[in-house]
């Protein structure tokens, strides 16, 4: 019940397009859903996160859409650029209070933006 399933495994989009990465979770106790961006040889960097009390959140060119009934959430990248080429991970956790959170990660999506 701790799985987070992510798709697609890889994605190629032309510059300016809108890549969409999808995640589905099983544990209904999860109440925090972040997205991370990882470049080769680097640690994951927090992009944007959402709580289940909202259906959408935007930060710059990044948007999370959240469907609580379907237990799914997705990342949209507007006006994608070659510099967005990276591996993206969705994650989920149950917030229990200070120091009791563990992130469960998806398997990652390798995104390539072609000029």
């Amino acid at each position: 019940q701790q799985q987070v399933k992510q798709s697609p495994q890889s994605l190629i989009v032309q510059k300016g397009g809108i890549p969409i990465i999808n995640c589905a979770y099983e544990n209904t106790a999860f109440d925090y859903f972040p997205w991370y961006q990882q470049f080769p040889g680097k640690g994951p960097a927090l992009l944007i996160a959402i709580r289940p009390d909202v259906s959408e959140k935007k930060e710059g060119r990044f948007t999370i859409s959240f469907n609580k009934s379907a237990k799914q959430f997705s990342l949209h990248i507007m006006d994608s650029q070659p510099g967005d080429s990276a591996t993206y991970f969705c994650a989920a956790s149950k917030i229990r209070g200070f120091g009791n959170e563990k992130l469960t990660f998806g398997t990652g999506t390798r995104l390539t933006i072609i000029p």
Binding site: G41, P44, G97, K102, G106
Partner: protein, 115 residues
């Protein structure tokens, strides 16, 4: 402000040896988590510490242990290394806005190769 720092950057060990990895959280962050990321997969949770107390442990054998020091830095120890322990070991520090709101920031990782 400095981010999460980890040392060493790379490490090569032989099967059966022991290894210690080190992490310094972002200033002011009191929680440190450790994750293992095998090539091509998402990070897997190993431990979380808050105020020097272990608050969570993932599904890893007892060969893995950790501790957090009074200055909130942390060490991850792995004994009796196996080839399968080869991975990127990530440390993350957590900023808590309140008991029910947090963000987790990752360091660059330590690449461990076991031969």
């Amino acid at each position: 402000d400095a981010g999460v720092t980890q040392s060493p950057t790379h490490l090569i060990k032989t099967r059966g040896q022991q290894v210690t990895l080190r992490c310094s959280p972002i200033s002011g962050h009191k929680s440190v988590s450790w994750y293992q990321q095998v090539l091509g997969q998402g990070p897997q949770f190993i431990f979380q510490y808050y105020e020097k107390e272990e608050r969570g442990r993932g599904n890893f054998p007892d060969r893995f242990s950790a501790r957090q020091f009074p200055n909130y830095s942390s060490e991850l120890n792995v004994n009796a290394l196996l080839l399968g322990d080869s991975a990127l070991y990530l440390c993350a520090s957590s900023l808590y806005f309140d008991a029910l709101s947090y963000e987790q920031y990752f360091g660059p990782g330590t690449r461990l190769t076991v031969t």
